[in-house]
């Protein structure tokens, strides 16, 4: 479904991604594991197309030069230079890191803003599904999103991405800043939406322990380069992963 081939991204002269290649097949959950500054977010921005918008803004500002080499193919078509809104229309939807929500709007209104490309009826259907996925949100329907806790905001952010009806859902560090219990709830929901709605998921995370058991395959990224890849179970038993991410 998604093939990233030899992707290189420079911010001015700093190399953020170095010859990264990966593949996501339809129906899979694929993890990208790496520490801070490994290039996870850059990868997500490149796949979702946000980086194209960032590059245009930097050019206008006369700021840093962002260069992108290599290519990204989605369903067999090269999408490397396509603007983000067209990628969203084709089904690639990103939920950015640090649970981005619209703080001044209520939970329900957040869903309706996210459903810009969908009809009111479609939005209502998905919102019902999101409430079944994340029951705590039901009680918070009318509350301003800015007043929700981090975990609740993360649930909302994933729900908002679902409202767009993605075919490929990109989750950038969905577990960041969440309690272990909340992490489990979010991971369970990711598995459920993959199984029930058949949404393909590519997620990046630095917490390998809760993620590796549920992913079909995972890639380990360090300093913008791929160091390891394999099935979730393989990586769980890999001694390097154990020492680097599990502290064993």
């Amino acid at each position: 479904m998604l093939v990233v081939n030899n992707l290189m991204v420079f911010f001015e002269n700093a190399l953020a991604l170095n010859g990264l290649s990966l593949e996501v097949r339809e129906g899979e959950i694929v993890g990208v594991i790496g520490s801070n500054s490994a290039g996870k977010t850059t990868l997500m921005n490149a796949v979702s197309g946000l980086i194209i918008d960032m590059r245009i803004k930097e050019i206008r500002r006369g700021g840093q030069r962002i260069s992108i080499y290599g290519n990204i193919a989605y369903k067999g078509e090269d999408i490397t230079g396509i603007p983000p809104e067209l990628r969203v229309k084709n089904g690639i939807v990103l939920s950015r890191e640090r649970h981005p929500v619209f703080p001044e709007s209520s939970v329900l209104e957040n869903f309706r803003i996210a459903g810009y490309l969908r009809t009111k009826k479609e939005v209502r259907e998905v919102v019902d599904y999101v409430f079944s996925l994340f029951p705590p949100l039901v009680k918070l329907k009318k509350r301003k999103a800015g007043f929700l806790s981090g975990g609740e905001q993360q649930m909302l952010a994933i729900g908002m991405a679902l409202v767009v009806r993605p075919k490929l859902l990109l989750l950038d560090e969905p577990l960041l800043g969440l309690s272990p219990m909340m992490q489990k709830a979010v991971v369970d929901a990711i598995v459920a939406l993959n199984k029930e709605s058949g949404i393909t998921v590519l997620l990046s995370e630095q917490f390998a322990r809760p993620v590796l058991p549920v992913v079909d395959r995972a890639y380990v990224v360090e300093n913008g380069m791929l160091t390891l890849s394999g099935t979730g179970a393989d990586l769980m038993n890999n001694p390097e992963i154990k020492s680097a991410y599990f502290g064993v």
């Binding site: 206008r60 619209f102 810009y116 490309l117 767009v164």
Partner: protein, 290 residues
């Protein structure tokens, strides 16, 4: 006298809100301070005047045409000028102010100044309300302002584009991840802001006459109201219109008309000293605290 002053203060409030709402809409959504706002306001007024006197068109047709032209002009200014400098506040201000100066000074150069350049009132009638004479035009302004604000509220809370406006105003990059095109929304916000300026002109200009100077005046008043209220906040525009509207009228009646400007400017200073981001500028205040 107190009742009469209050009635006229209310009318003044409605006039200020009507003047500021378009400027506020554009800024609230796209962060563009449209300093050509006063110029497009005057452009619409001259446009209607020309269509009425030179082409003898019926009034409603002339108004619709002027609103349409402004809609297009706002969109064109964004597509051909602002697009390249989007995001740099100072460049945006200089570019739009330049466009505004060009339009206003062109009219001055053409010599379109004098009492014959005015727009007719809708209905030449007046009423007595609580012992005070109020003409139909002023009542129309109050009603239209209220309807417009309610209409805008409905638009931004219950339509897809309105909701997208609110999304992009809060977090542009997140809005982008839902397929909301920021350039399209900014174009629309400029177009709608300019169209609202045209509507405001059609309602307010019949109370006086059309002159290039009026364009600068409208810009300053819109800025004052928006800054007091907190840039980009509709609730702020309403509250600030009340403050400035009442301050102006009451000063005029009880202190002296030459103090009007000083009192409203003092109101800006006081509000900005107490709340630097304006009355309703919440988001900004958070940033300042950090």
């Amino acid at each position: 006298m107190l009742i009469g002053t209050t009635i006229y203060a209310l009318i003044n409030t409605a006039i200020l809100a009507l003047m500021a709402i378009g400027f506020n809409l554009t800024f609230g959504i796209s962060g563009i301070a449209n300093f050509a706002y006063g110029a497009v306001y005057i452009l619409a007024a001259y446009g209607v005047w020309m269509l009425l006197t030179l082409f003898q068109l019926p009034y409603p047709v002339a108004v619709l045409a002027a609103v349409g032209v402004n809609l297009l002009l706002g969109a064109l200014i964004y597509r051909f000028v602002l697009l390249r400098i989007r995001g740099q506040a100072l460049s945006e201000v200089i570019a739009t102010f330049g466009i505004g100066l060009a339009i206003l000074e062109l009219f001055r150069y053409l010599g379109l100044v004098g009492f014959e350049y005015h727009l007719p009132v809708f209905v030449d009638k007046s009423f007595v309300i609580a012992g005070t004479y109020v003409d139909f035009q002023r009542i129309a302004i109050v009603v239209f302002s209220a309807v417009l604000i309610l209409g805008l509220w409905f638009f931004t809370h219950h339509t897809a584009i309105g909701l997208a406006f609110r999304g992009i105003a809060q977090d542009e990059r997140t809005a982008l991840t839902f397929g909301i095109d920021s350039n399209k929304m900014a174009t629309l916000s400029m177009a709608m802001g300019a169209a609202l300026a045209a509507l405001a002109a059609v309602f307010i200009i019949p109370l006086g006459s059309i002159s290039p100077g009026e364009g600068y005046d409208v810009l300053i008043k819109a800025l004052a109201v928006c800054i007091i209220g907190g840039l980009g906040s509709t609730g702020g525009v309403i509250a600030a219109s009340f403050i400035v509207g009442f301050a102006e009228r009451f000063t005029d009646t009880y202190i002296g008309s030459h103090w009007t400007m000083i009192v409203s400017l003092a109101a800006i200073l006081v509000v900005l000293t107490v709340k630097p981001s304006g009355l309703f500028g919440n988001q900004k205040e958070l940033e300042e605290r950090i």
